[in-house]
């Protein structure tokens, strides 16, 4: 019964979204207000159906209804409730349903927020969103149907992938990632609307930018969570391996960040409209490519699913949206360009252009590296690998260049700059950069790259804080009181600006922390028998013994260690070696002792009774990466808080026919 209900809801959503898309596009072409109303209704209906279908699936999961195929795949009466709830997104079919759920909510929310505005754009936007919704509904109804019936009904299920039950991060990472990924559909719809209409008005910039910034925040945090999870759970002591699926999450983030920056130039000077729209389209297209990479089984990755009909279906959709985007762009891009100009290439505007260049090169490099083995195999039939050494070598210089721009860009003023102004803007932060470099050197940093990163980072930090507090300083100079001026400039009026600089501050910390944690990292492999100790990085590690623990899905051997520093015990760490019933090789779970200074990381290489082969890693400043990315997300959220500006136009008496209040 549940399965049938689910299937019905999904089929209904296919119908509703397809019909809604047609109606919306027609409404846009005919500029019909009635058509717009109906488009909105269909948008809400689609969202409602998706929410209901997801609710039905969760109900089936929680009640362990094994007659539903997905529940039979991932359900189990043996696992705790929270595992059951999150198993909705633990496996392929459920995760696509989850995608549809999030898409529905995004569409409904955006439609509702803009229900009385931008009437010329909204129908086209809704049409595009519902077309994407139609595809995902079709995917759920067809190749990835979780609601198929199983007969005979089994009494028990295998439970979700054991790796996913290991850690709290596994619960938040997928929803965050989906909120980021799926959210890119919304600005894509807006961009398509602007192209279809042949215009991108200044008033439309705000919703376009906001709809890009919100998923950006989620995606930023999601990428960090993925890295953090890899670090805490996988045991090799790193947080980023340039795995194809990791790259898939990074690619749209890079183009979205570039788009957010070029949108600023678009707002200020009215130029780069076509380019910004292209980047927004690219961000969405890369999410579809990303989901293809993850689900098609074509790429060799930790995340891979096996090949099925889903791969070709997504590929067809990807081709369709690629063609749609290219054709739309080719026909309309020229009509978007307005008669804007910039006063000088050496200015903040010019720096934005260079910033975009580096982001594009970054994106291209990661994309090429990821698909290159596929190309070579297709063309020459030979297999080769493109791994971490390649990406690190190619990406690090680009990242360093971006850090450089992070400092120099905001330092330069808008518009034409005299030589004197330029020196006055660019020279003082060098002092802070030099101080950062000296501090690093004093702490033992010897790597050239890290020293350069500290120099640029210090420089950028100086510029970021100077710019952040600039409005406040101007007010104080005028004689305003401190506290009200602070709240007014940063939190009431200048949220976008303040939020942006908070993001930059976080980014500077991320760059520096990555450089320091990679180059100042030390490790030691040692074999200890019970009772034996070793000293490394200022701490003494004593092997206390091991114990076996059997759980329903895995057999674990836990090794206990006592960590002392200067004679005092600071921690007891328990890394373990897990042999899952389902996997060929054992997987280790490391133990991590985190402090502000850095992490002390223990990972078991082999464990035989009273003898353990241990890998100890000392990684300074790693924890700063997670915190700084959260700061970036917070900055984005601050910038998102809408400025509810109502412009009241007081009109003289005779014009009483005009409404009293015009909302701008």
């Amino acid at each position: 019964m549940t399965a049938t209900l689910g299937r019905f809801l999904i089929l209904a959503s296919v119908l509703v979204s397809t019909t809604g898309a047609f109606i919306a596009y027609a409404a846009g072409a005919k500029r019909s207000p009635e058509g717009l109303k109906w488009s909105q209704r269909f948008a809400y209906a689609f969202a409602g159906l998706m929410v209901l279908a997801t609710g039905v699936m969760e109900y089936a999961l929680i009640t362990h209804d094994f007659s539903v195929q997905y529940v039979a795949h991932v359900g189990s009466t043996q696992v705790p409730l929270w595992v059951t709830i999150v198993s909705l997104w633990s496996s392929l079919e459920g995760s696509i349903l989850f995608w549809g759920f999030i898409l529905g909510i995004y569409i409904a929310a955006t439609t509702w927020v803009n229900r009385n505005q931008h009437q010329e754009y909204m129908p086209f936007a809704i049409g595009t969103w519902l077309s994407c919704g139609a595809f995902f509904s079709f995917l759920i109804a067809g190749p990835a149907n979780p609601f198929l019936s199983v007969s005979p009904v089994p009494l028990e299920g295998p439970g979700p992938n054991p790796l996913l039950q290991n850690h709290l991060l596994m619960i938040i990472h997928p929803p965050m990632l989906y909120l980021g990924y799926v959210g890119m559909t919304i600005p894509f719809g807006f961009a398509a609307a602007a192209l279809l209409r042949g215009r991108l008005g200044q008033s439309f910039l705000r919703p376009l930018r906001a709809s890009l910034l919100l998923p950006w925040v989620f995606l930023t945090i999601a990428i960090m969570l993925g890295g953090w999870w890899a670090y805490e759970v996988l045991g090799w002591g790193g947080y980023w391996a340039w795995d194809p699926v990791e790259n898939a999450s990074l690619l749209p983030w890079l183009t979205a960040t570039a788009a957010l920056h070029s949108a600023i130039v678009m707002e200020r000077r009215g130029v780069l409209k076509g380019w910004t729209v292209t980047l927004i389209q690219a961000s969405f297209l890369l999410t579809i490519l990303g989901t293809f990479m993850t689900r098609s089984g074509v790429f060799n990755s930790v995340h891979s699913f096996t090949q099925s009909a889903i791969g070709p279906t997504i590929l067809i959709f990807l081709t369709a949206v690629l063609l749609f985007s290219v054709i739309l762009l080719a026909f309309r891009i020229d009509s978007l360009e307005s008669e804007g100009r910039i006063e000088s290439a050496v200015s903040r505007e010019g720096m934005f252009l260079v910033n975009n260049l580096f982001f594009v090169v970054f994106t291209f490099t990661v994309l090429v590296g990821t698909v290159f083995p596929l190309v070579v195999e297709a063309v020459k039939g030979k297999q080769m690998s493109v791994g971490r050494p390649y990406f690190d070598a190619m990406v690090v210089p680009v990242g360093t260049a971006l850090l450089f721009l992070l400092g120099v860009g905001p330092a330069l003023p808008w518009g034409k700059v005299t030589r004197k102004e330029m020196l006055r803007a660019l020279l003082p932060p060098l002092i802070t950069g030099a101080i950062a470099l000296i501090i690093g050197y004093a702490f033992g940093v010897r790597s050239g790259w890290t020293l350069v990163t500290l120099l640029f980072g210090g420089y950028a930090a100086h510029v970021t804080f100077a710019q952040m507090w600039l409005p406040l300083r101007q007010r104080l100079k005028k004689g305003d009181a401190f506290a009200p001026a602070l709240i007014d400039t940063q939190l009431r009026r200048g949220r976008r600006r303040f939020g942006g600089y908070v993001v930059h501050a976080g980014a500077v910390i991320v760059f520096v922390a990555i450089a320091v944690s990679s180059t100042m990292r030390t490790q030691q492999e040692v074999t200890l028998t019970r009772g034996q100790s070793t000293t490394f990085a200022g701490k003494t590690v004593t092997f206390l013994g091991s114990e076996e623990r059997t759980e329903p899905h895995r057999q674990s051997t836990i090794a206990r260690f006592n960590i002392t520093k200067n004679g005092k015990t600071v921690a007891t760490m328990e890394p373990r070696m897990n042999q899952y019933a389902a996997m060929r090789e054992p997987i280790g779970t490391p133990a991590v002792y985190s402090t502000i200074g850095g992490d002390y990381y223990l990972s078991i290489m082999n464990l035989q009774g009273d003898q353990v082969g241990l890998l100890i890693i000392n990684m300074p400043m790693v924890g700063w990466i997670w915190g700084a990315v959260l700061l970036m997300g917070a900055g984005g959220l601050i910038a998102l808080i809408p400025a509810r500006r109502r412009t009241y136009v007081v009109v003289p008496e005779p014009l009483a026919t005009v409404p009293d209040e015009v909302v701008a």
Binding site: V298, L322, V326, I327, A330, L374, R584
Partner: protein
Amino acid sequence: MAAAEFVVRLIRGVNWTVLVTGIIIVATVVFVLVAGLGKDPQHIDSPLVGKPAPPFALKAVNTGETIDLESLRGKPVIVNFWATWCGPCYLEHPTLVANARQLPDVQFIGVVFNDTEDKINRFLAERGNAYPTLLDANGKTAIAYGVGGVPETYFINAAGTIVAKFEGPMSTEILQENLAKALR
């Protein structure tokens, strides 16, 4: 000729740079991804296929004699790398034993690495013992053969050239299929 006018207007309104660049990108991406479909990313082609099998001489576990690969030339040889801690090896062993008994003209050899003689003997007692099992103490032979995981099976023809490599648990059909290559 409103249609012709429409087409002309359409063509004139197009930004050709964008269109051509875009189509090239789309075509490349689609070509690459379509080519990727249908290939198993887990399967790695062995560079040793078609090359002479790396020579080795290892001690057999139960008999204690040393078996030299060179001395087996003249007969097709099937070398199966396995270990007692490997699940699929446990499953495939009886198939290998049965085939070994049925094909006296083919020399079967098992090579085990990272394991102890006790465990191996117990395994063989339980799953069958029809051909020599050699001990590769530190996995060097496995490395020379490009073994990644277990089980992996190499088919060598009478001249000493590797004609095929199969990764994963063996079945009789797969064995026959690859053996045919060695018998040619």
